[in-house]
C-alpha cells in the first residue's frame, strides 16, 4: 500500500495497446481491417469492468481494507465492552495527562511570539566587561539612528501607575501599563485589530499622548465596542487618547506578563522621573528585528562596535575595559517566566510520558491475553488463506481504533484539566496566559495516540499471528499455541512496567523528599508565629515610602501595640517575596570583597525572627542616624571578609573604596539563616541599621505576637495611620506561609509526581497480577498433576511466588539502571538530596517487592487450591 501507484493513464494505455495488437493480429489472420478493430474491442470484453478491477486493486483496495478493518475492529471491541472500556480509559488517562501538560509546557515554554517572522527577533544584551548592562534611552536612539544592519531597534518597558481613570471612571481591575517606542508594533511584527499603532512621530515629546490598548483590556473595559478608539484615559495626570487595539493573541514581548495598554516611551519623563529619558537612566532592554539579507554575526559586529563607540551615552563605570554586545534569540520574547518554569514543566512532561508508556505496556498485556483467546479465530483465518501481514494490519487497526478513542477522550480530559493545571503551576504568579487548543496540541495528541497504538499493538499482533495452523484449529477452547512467545512477550511487558513504575516512584519519592527538605530545613530563624506585612503608599507621597525617619517612627509605634512581643522594619522583602537583593562589595584597607548582601533592618529584627547572635550584639535603638555606623554580619560574611580573624570591632567600607563615607564597624556575628528564597545557599549577609542607610524599597514589617498574629492586622493599620497617614497595609502573610509559597513549584512537583508515581505502581501491580494469574491458570493441569503426584501445597505456592518475584527483581534491576541514567535530569531540581539517594532507591525496591508478593500471593493461593480431578479434566 505504500508502493508507488501505477497511474490510471498507464493502465488505459496498456488496454489501448492490447486492442491495437489484437487488431493487427486479426488483420494478419485475414480479417477485414474495418471489422478487425470492432472484433478486437468485442473480444477484449468489458473495458469498463477491467478498469474497475484495476482501480480497486490500485487505489481503493487498501482504503477499502482499512474501512473493513476499522468496522471489524469496532465490532470486535463492541463484543468485549469491558476490555474496550478499560483500554480506552487507561489510554485516555495517559494521553489526557500528557496533552494537558504539553499544552501548559507549549504555552509557557515552547511557543514563539505570535508575530510575523519571530525567528528574526533578537534581544540586544550589552556587557561592560562581563557584567550585563542595559540601555539608556539616548543610547537606544543613537544606536538606532546609526545602525545599518538591522531593520530597526525597539523596546518596551513597564510603567508605574499611581493614578488611573478611563473617561472619568475607575477601572474594573488594577491596570498594567507599558511604554513602547514609536516603531515598536511595526518592528515586532503585529497588526492593529482596530485603529492605528504608534508611529515614529509619537517618539516626539511634544506630540499629544496616545495609547494602544490590548484586546483583553478593550473587552474588559469597553465591552469590545469600536468606539473605544478616540476615548480618553488619565494616567498619572496625563490625558491619553486611545488610538488602537492590538490583536487578541498579541500581549507584548514578555510572555505571560499582563499588558493592558502601551503609551509612547516619550512620556516616561512625565510618568516616571524627569531623568528617565536621559543618559543617566539605564533601564531599557531593547530588541531588534534582523534584516533578511544581513546575517546575524554581521549585525552583531556592527551593533557591538556601536555599543563601544556610544559608551558616553551611558553611565561610565570605573575599571571597564571591554564593551561588548550580543544578539540573543528572542523569538519567544523576553522575560524570565520561561526559564523559571521550563525545568519543572519538562520534568512533568517526562513523568507523564513514562506513565503513558507504562499504560501502553499494560494494554499490550491485555491484548496478548486476548490474542490467546482469539488464537482459534486467527488460526482459522490464516488457514483459509489470509496473509499474515494482512492479519497484523487488522490487529494493528484494532489498536489504532482503541488509541484514537483514547486520544479523543484524552483531548477532552485535557481540555478540562489544563486550565486548573495552569492555575496550579502559576499559583502566586501574576500571569495572563490563555490556553488554546491549536494544531500544535492536536498534532501532539494525534502523534502520541499513533505512537502508543504501535507500542502496545505491534508486538501482540506479531505474537498473535505466529500461530501453528494445525494446533490452533484442533485445540478446543484453550490452546497452547504460541504460548511460549506469548508468555515471553507478556513477561517483557511486565518487566517494563515494573521498571517504569520503579523509575516513576523513585522520582516521586525524590521530589517529595526534596520538598520536605526544602520546607523543613533549618532556616536559622523561627518562622512560626511571625507576621509579615508590606506597606504601600496611596500614590500621593513617594518620599514617605523611603523615608528613614518614618521607618523609625513606625518601628517605635508597632512595638507599642499591646500583645506585640517584638516588631521590626526591614527595607526589602524576605524569603522569596521580593527578596532578591543585589550583591555589593565591601572594602577593607587591603582588599575588596565582592558578593555580599547588605540589608537595612531596624532594631529587634534579629529578636523578632529569632536569629541567634553568636558573638557581640544585635542592632539596637542606640545605633542612631548620626552615630557610628554599625553592622551585624552572618557567619558566612565573617568567614568571607575576615577569614579566621575576629571580626568584632573591625571596620569595612561599603563599596570598592576604603576608606569612604560609608564605613561600618562590625558589632556582632549572627548565625547563618535563610534570607532570600529558601533554595538559595546561605550567602554572606550584612545587616545595618535602617536609620543609617538609605533603603531600596517600601518598608516591610515583621511582628512576633503573643496570640494569633492575624488579629494584629487591625491595630497595626491604626498605628501606621497615626505615624504615616499616607501609608497603608498591603500584602499580609505569615512568615511560615512565605516559606511555603516560595516552595510552591516544588510542592506542585511533589504532589503531581507522587500521584503519578502511585498510579504507576498501581498499573504495574495490576499488570503483574494479570500476567501471574493468567500464567498460573494455564498451568492448572500441570499443577493438578504435580499435586496428584504428591507435591505439597506450600511448594506450589512457592513456585508461583518465586516466578512472580523473579519477574519483579528483573524489573527492579532494569528500573535501577534507568534511574541511574535519568538521575541527571532530576538532580537540578532536588534540594539537598542526590538523585541516586540510596535510601530512596532502597525504599522503592522494597515497595516493588511488596507489590510483587501481593500480586503473586492471590494467584499462588488459588493455584494451591486446585482440585487435581478437576484440573486433569480441564482440557
Amino acid at each position: 500500500m505504500w508502493r508507488r501507484k501505477r497511474s490510471d493513464i498507464d493502465f488505459e494505455e496498456e488496454i489501448r495497446a492490447h486492442i491495437d495488437l489484437e487488431t493487427d493480429r486479426l488483420i494478419n489472420d485475414g480479417v477485414n481491417p474495418e471489422e478487425a478493430r470492432a472484433l478486437a474491442v468485442r473480444r477484449f470484453g468489458n473495458v469498463g469492468k477491467a478498469r474497475e478491477t484495476f482501480y480497486e486493486s490500485r487505489r481503493a483496495l487498501w482504503f477499502e481494507h482499512l474501512i473493513q478493518d476499522v468496522r471489524y475492529a469496532v465490532r470486535t471491541l463492541f463484543r468485549t465492552p469491558a476490555f474496550a472500556i478499560v483500554a480506552i480509559v487507561t489510554l485516555a488517562l495517559g494521553i489526557g495527562a500528557s496533552t494537558a501538560i504539553f499544552q501548559v509546557l507549549d504555552t509557557v515554554v515552547l511557543k514563539p511570539l505570535p508575530v510575523r517572522d519571530p525567528q528574526r527577533l533578537v534581544e540586544l544584551q550589552g556587557y561592560h566587561n562581563a557584567n550585563p548592562n542595559g540601555f539608556s534611552y539616548p543610547l537606544l536612539r543613537e544606536m538606532a539612528a546609526r545602525q545599518t544592519t538591522v531593520e530597526g531597534i525597539f523596546t518596551s518597558a513597564s510603567a508605574n501607575i499611581r493614578e488611573f481613570s478611563i473617561a472619568g471612571r475607575a477601572p474594573a481591575e488594577p491596570v498594567a501599563a507599558w511604554l513602547a517606542t514609536g516603531n515598536y508594533f511595526r518592528l515586532i511584527g503585529t497588526e492593529a485589530q482596530l485603529g492605528r499603532f504608534f508611529t515614529e512621530a509619537d517618539d516626539d515629546t511634544s506630540m499629544p499622548a496616545v495609547a494602544v490598548i490590548s484586546d483583553g483590556f478593550w473587552r474588559r473595559e469597553f465591552g469590545g465596542q469600536p468606539d473605544a478608539v478616540g476615548q480618553s484615559m488619565r494616567i498619572n495626570g496625563i490625558a491619553a487618547t486611545i488610538v488602537g487595539v492590538t490583536r487578541p493573541e498579541f500581549s507584548g514581548d514578555r510572555v505571560g506578563t499582563p499588558v493592558d495598554f502601551w503609551l509612547p516611551i516619550s512620556f516616561a519623563g512625565q510618568l516616571y522621573h524627569p531623568s528617565s529619558l536621559t543618559a543617566s537612566s539605564i533601564w531599557l532592554q531593547p530588541m531588534a528585528r534582523l534584516r533578511s539579507d544581513v546575517p546575524l554575526d554581521q549585525a552583531q559586529a556592527e551593533l557591538s562596535l556601536l555599543w563601544d563607540q556610544l559608551k558616553d551615552f551611558s553611565i561610565r563605570f570605573r575599571g571597564v575595559t571591554q564593551y561588548r554586545l550580543e544578539l540573543l534569540p528572542a523569538y519567544q520574547g523576553l522575560g524570565t517566566l520561561r526559564s523559571q518554569f521550563s525545568r519543572s514543566l519538562w520534568l512533568l512532561m517526562g513523568i507523564v510520558t513514562l506513565l503513558t508508556l507504562l499504560a501502553s505496556c499494560n494494554l499490550a498485556n491485555l491484548l496478548l491475553v486476548r490474542a490467546s483467546a482469539r488464537a482459534r479465530e486467527i488460526g482459522m483465518r490464516l488457514a483459509i488463506g489470509a496473509r499474515r501481514g494482512r492479519l497484523i494490519r487488522q490487529l494493528l487497526t484494532e489498536s489504532l481504533v482503541l488509541s484514537l478513542f483514547g486520544g479523543v477522550l484524552g483531548l477532552m480530559l485535557a481540555a478540562v484539566t489544563s486550565n486548573p493545571l495552569m492555575k496550579l503551576v502559576s499559583v502566586g504568579e501574576n500571569w495572563r496566559l490563555s490556553l488554546h487548543v491549536d494544531w500544535r496540541i492536536l498534532g501532539f495528541t494525534a502523534s502520541l495516540s499513533l505512537a502508543v497504538a504501535f507500542i502496545f499493538g505491534l508486538i501482540p499482533a506479531l505474537v498473535a499471528t505466529r500461530v501453528s495452523l494445525n494446533t490452533a484449529l484442533q485445540a478446543h477452547g484453550h490452546s497452547h499455541t504460541g504460548t511460549r512467545s506469548r508468555s515471553r512477550a507478556a513477561k517483557l511487558f511486565v518487566v517494563s512496567q515494573v521498571a517504569l513504575s520503579f523509575v516513576l516512584m523513585t522520582g516521586a519519592l525524590l521530589l517529595v523528599r526534596s520538598f520536605w527538605n526544602l520546607t523543613h530545613q533549618d532556616f536559622g530563624l523561627k518562622p512560626e508565629g511571625v507576621l509579615f506585612v508590606e506597606l504601600e503608599g496611596d500614590g500621593t507621597n513617594f518620599r514617605v515610602l523611603l523615608d528613614t525617619e518614618v521607618r523609625q517612627a513606625i518601628y517605635r509605634r508597632i512595638n507599642e501595640i499591646p500583645g506585640v512581643v517584638s516588631g521590626a522594619v526591614i527595607g526589602v522583602g524576605i524569603l522569596g517575596r521580593w527578596s532578591s537583593v543585589g550583591e555589593s562589595s565591601v572594602a577593607l584597607p587591603e582588599r575588596v570583597v565582592p558578593g555580599v548582601k547588605i540589608v537595612p533592618v531596624s532594631p529587634r529584627y534579629l529578636e523578632t525572627m529569632d536569629i541567634p547572635v553568636l558573638r557581640g550584639r544585635s542592632i539596637t535603638e542606640d545605633d542612631r542616624r548620626n552615630g557610628t555606623r554599625v553592622a551585624v554580619i552572618n557567619q558566612s560574611a565573617a568567614r568571607l571578609i575576615f577569614g579566621s580573624d575576629d571580626p568584632i570591632g573591625r571596620t569595612f567600607a561599603s563599596g570598592t573604596v576604603f576608606p569612604s563615607n560609608f564605613m561600618f564597624e562590625v558589632v556582632g556575628v549572627m548565625k547563618d539563616h535563610r534570607f532570600g528564597s529558601p533554595r538559595e545557599p546561605f550567602g554572606p549577609l550584612v545587616y545595618v541599621p535602617v536609620v543609617q542607610m538609605p533603603a531600596g524599597g517600601p518598608p516591610r514589617l515583621v511582628l512576633r505576637t503573643s496570640t494569633d498574629p492575624m488579629q494584629f492586622v487591625q491595630p497595626l493599620q491604626q498605628g501606621i495611620r497615626e505615624v504615616a497617614p499616607s501609608l497603608k497595609i498591603g500584602h499580609v502573610s505569615l512568615v511560615r506561609d512565605l516559606v511555603r509559597n516560595a516552595a510552591r513549584q516544588e510542592r506542585l512537583l511533589a504532589w503531581l509526581s507522587g500521584a503519578f508515581g502511585a498510579l504507576a505502581v498501581l498499573l504495574a501491580s495490576i499488570g503483574l497480577y494479570g500476567v501471574v494469574a493468567y500464567s498460573t491458570q494455564r498451568r492448572t493441569q500441570e499443577i493438578g498433576i504435580r499435586l496428584t503426584l504428591g507435591a505439597r501445597i506450600g511448594q506450589i505456592r512457592r513456585s508461583v511466588l518465586q516466578d512472580t518475584l523473579s519477574t519483579v527483581i528483573i524489573g527492579v534491576v532494569a528500573g535501577l539502571a534507568a534511574t541511574v541514567i535519568m538521575s541527571r535530569y532530576v538532580q537540578s531540581v532536588l534540594f539537598e538530596l542526590t538523585a541516586n539517594d540510596p535510601l530512596t532507591i532502597a525504599a522503592t525496591s522494597c515497595l516493588m517487592l511488596v507489590v510483587g508478593i501481593f500480586a503473586g500471593y492471590l494467584p499462588a493461593r488459588r493455584a494451591s487450591r486446585v482440585d487435581p480431578v478437576v484440573a486433569l479434566r480441564y482440557e
Binding site: 496498456e14 491495437d20 495488437l21 493487427d24 493480429r25 473480444r43 470484453g45 468489458n46 477491467a50 478491477t53
Partner: protein, 117 residues
Amino acid sequence: MSTQKTEQEKIALLQGTLDLLILRILIFGPEHGQGVARAIEEQSEGELLVDHGSLYPALQRLEERRWIEAEWGTSENNRKARFYKLTRKGKKQLLDETAKWRRTAAAIGRILGPEEG
C-alpha cells in the same frame, strides 16, 4: 482452419488457473498482455478462452505479489506495449503451482475414472 472453434465451444478458464498459465507462458521470456492471451489460446489449441477483460487485472495482481514485473517496450510489429517478465519469486511460484496442479489434475482424473469412448 480446422482447429478454429467458435467462441461458445471454448472452455472458460477456471478461476485461479489463469495465474498459473500466465506464469507458465512468461517462462519463455517477456511478453505483453495480448501476446500472453494469444499464447494461451494457441498453446491450448484453441480449447481455452482468455477473457481479455480479466487478463489485465490478473497481470496486475501478479505484479503486486512481485511474481512478475512490467516495463514498457516495443512489440515485434513496432507497437508500444507493456511487457511482463517473470521474477525469481514468480519462477518459484510457478514450480510450486505446477506441481500442485498436476497432483490435483491426477486426483480428479482418478476420481473421474478412465476416459469413455
